[in-house]
């Protein structure tokens, strides 16, 4: 009887103190949660870019992007709608999970009326004059490329966030990605990063991405704005998103050379 009572008391105590002693997830586990976060099976969204240089000169672009998941792989197509000098330029990406296979990418250049196969291996290359590299424009980085470590927690704009640092595993990866380190601030309640800091290959702080106006659309947490600021060049890229349509059942044929060449018109 005595033993039974002791065990029950111990059990009750463990239930009470359990949350206090629950092991914190590792950096990798947190990033896996970010990667596994529900972001819809497919998405159509409009995007406005403002490219602002150190003198305050602004270039603006409008795009529409469509994405569809195929298991852990995904396909996306982005059309430039404005300004006129880049209108109808379009990028098609077949994004393969993991690092074994390079992504496939095609670019349609209306000035040539040709679809060009482009290399996706230089992931540190900047995308169309923005402060985002081809790697940055992915939803989450390739987790296998980095050693992830949880370095702490803090409160950011009223939300508890994990601070997770990722260091590319090899020097070649550092060169390829253009970063020696990244630090993600991830909201604990929704497994979504709200700020990312990037250090260049020499270890100097290079740029930071801040996501804002995070709200639920069709039940999916979505950042409506994001700003990538390069602290070295004082150039920044402001993104604003609108007209989200999640899970609309996009046809596989959207992600093809045919649609790349045809361009996007509002009747589609």
């Amino acid at each position: 009887m005595m033993n039974k009572t002791v065990f029950m008391l111990l059990g009750a105590m463990l239930l009470l103190v359990g949350p206090i002693f629950a092991a914190e997830p590792t950096g990798l586990e947190i990033m896996q949660r970010v990667d596994a976060r529900d972001d819809g099976d497919d998405l159509i969204q409009k995007m406005k870019q403002r490219l602002v240089d150190r003198r305050g000169d602004v270039r603006e672009r409008e795009m529409i992007s469509l994405r569809k998941d195929y298991g852990k792989d995904s396909k996306s197509i982005t059309y430039f709608l404005a300004p006129s000098n880049v209108r109808d330029t379009a990028l098609l990406t077949w994004d393969y999970d993991g690092v074994e296979k390079d992504d496939d990418q095609w670019l349609y250049l209306p000035a040539l009326k040709k679809v060009r196969r482009i290399s996706s291996s230089d992931r540190g290359d900047y995308f169309m004059g923005t402060d985002f590299t081809f790697e940055d424009i992915k939803q989450t980085p390739e987790l296998e490329d980095y050693n992830w470590s949880l370095i702490g927690s803090e409160n950011l704009d009223g939300h508890d966030v994990w601070l997770v640092e990722g260091e590319p595993k090899t020097d070649d990866l550092k060169k390829n990605l253009g970063y020696s380190k990244t630090r993600y601030s991830i909201r604990k309640d929704i497994n979504m990063y709200v700020r990312v800091d990037f250090w260049d290959r020499k270890g100097q702080l290079l740029k930071h991405l801040v996501s804002e106006e995070i709200r639920q659309i069709d039940g999916i947490w979505t950042a409506m704005r994001g700003t990538m600021t390069n602290v070295q060049s004082s150039h920044r890229t402001e993104l604003s998103f609108s007209d989200h349509r999640y899970n609309s059942g996009l046809n596989d044929r959207v992600f093809s050379e045919r649609m790349l060449k045809r361009g996007y018109r509002e009747n589609e």
């Binding site: 000169d57 006129s84 230089d122 923005t130 018109r265």
Partner: protein, 408 residues
């Protein structure tokens, strides 16, 4: 129905810095691209552009390269480049109207890109998009999933067969004509050009797919050789040249794939019954036909924001004999190097082409700067080397140019 209109206003000014130094052009261009969404399925897409070249009024008239006829040819230009209806079906796209149809994977030189002829008023210096002559045609692109892969089948019919537009004889960009024997005059007659006749209709087929990561195509085109061969007739004191346009079949294909930082691409075009110039001086011995094999291989290497694209072009004549007025094997090598700075505001580019058969070359350095979303300026030059040959014939046409463009 919803109409949109985009376009550009552009000034292109070029100055010859070799040979007789003078203005080449002061073109003020208007480029209009009207479009309409007619219904859920139907769209209209068009493009027309024209210009006034002030250099033709600034430079004095002469009796050599700026005759009144040459000035008329270059002073104004107004052409529709595209005007077609597009029907987007579930499994097919159908386009009917005036179109530019682009085949092939090479840059700078045309091998499979043979559907539309070019306006050669500035040799091959103009962007192909501007120099291609739009042809009235019907095109069906049908898409089918076969064996787990997407396949595209393209069918083209062109009743509006047209040849290349050559610069007027005597102008700075006119190709060199065969030399007349000493003491003989040279006369150039008008040949019979292909045109809007049922018997002149052109047709083409293409298949495209992605096979094991390779983008591949097979192509067939039954058309006309765009550039004429020169039939000669030598009588005492006079060599008469008559342009002859001939039918030919082209079969070929193209490929491209990415391997790390390198994209490999290439194409082949076998022209069956291609018109060839011969060395004779009679109508029967100065023009012939034969099979030519044309192939190109290229690579695009991208690293640290630099793009380096070498290409090799080879042309062989399997049935060559010494009466054919070109080498059995000839070709070109090209190299393009480009990068960008200031978040793609500043874009330097260098393109070089070398004709190894005659040792002539062309070099095209260019610097573009984007002042704003609407305004772009370019500064560049086109330099030619060699005493004759494809590029060398324009050795005295080195030029520097500026471009200022406002897009809307």
């Amino acid at each position: 129905m919803e109409w949109t209109l985009h376009g550009a206003l552009k000034n292109e000014t070029a100055y010859f810095v070799s040979g007789q130094k003078r203005l080449d052009k002061v073109q003020n261009r208007l480029d209009l691209k009207p479009e309409a969404i007619l219904s859920d399925r139907w769209e209209f897409r068009g493009r027309a552009f024209g210009w006034y070249d002030a250099a033709m009024d600034i430079e004095p008239t002469n009796t050599t390269d700026l005759t009144p006829a040459i000035k008329r040819h270059y002073r104004t230009y107004l052409q529709s480049k595209e005007a077609y209806l597009l029907y987007g079906g579930d499994d097919f796209d159908f386009r009917i109207g005036q179109q530019q149809i682009v085949w092939g994977k090479t840059d700078g030189l045309r091998m499979l890109d043979i559907v539309n002829p070019l306006d050669m008023r500035e040799f091959m210096l103009d962007d192909f998009l501007d120099s291609r002559i739009g042809l009235w045609s019907a095109r069906l692109n049908w898409y089918a999933e076969l064996g787990g892969a997407e396949h595209e089948f393209e069918f083209i019919v062109i009743p509006d067969a047209r040849p290349v537009e050559l610069p007027p004889v005597g102008s700075r960009w006119a190709a060199a004509l065969p030399a007349a024997p000493a003491g003989s005059a040279l006369a150039v007659q008008t040949g019979r050009k292909p045109g809007w006749r049922p018997s002149d209709t052109e047709a083409g087929l293409a298949w495209r797919s992605n096979v094991d990561g390779w983008d591949v195509s097979l192509n067939w085109f039954y058309g006309w050789k765009d550039s004429p061969n020169m039939q000669k007739s030598l009588t005492p004191g006079l060599l008469t040249l008559t342009p002859v346009y001939q039918r030919m079949n082209t079969v070929g294909g193209s490929f491209s794939n990415a391997f790390g930082a390198v994209v490999l691409r290439g194409e082949m075009a076998v022209n069956v019954g291609e018109g060839l110039n011969r060395t004779g001086t009679t109508p029967a011995t100065s023009v012939g036909r034969g099979t030519t094999v044309n192939a190109s291989f290229g690579a695009d290497y991208t690293k640290n924001n630099w793009r380096i694209s070498p290409q090799l072009f080879i042309r062989t004549l399997p049935g060559w004999d010494s009466t054919i007025a070109e080498n059995m094997v000839s070709g070109f090598a090209s190299l393009m190097v480009s990068t960008d700075y200031l978040n793609e505001k500043l874009k330097p580019e260098l393109l070089g082409l070398y004709d190894w058969a005659d040792g002539s070359w062309m070099l095209r350095p260019k610097l573009a700067y984007e002042f704003s979303d609407q305004i772009t300026a370019k500064l560049g030059s086109d330099l030619f080397g060699g005493s004759n040959g494809f590029f060398g014939q324009f050795d005295k046409n080195d030029r520097v140019y500026t471009e200022l463009e406002y897009t809307f």
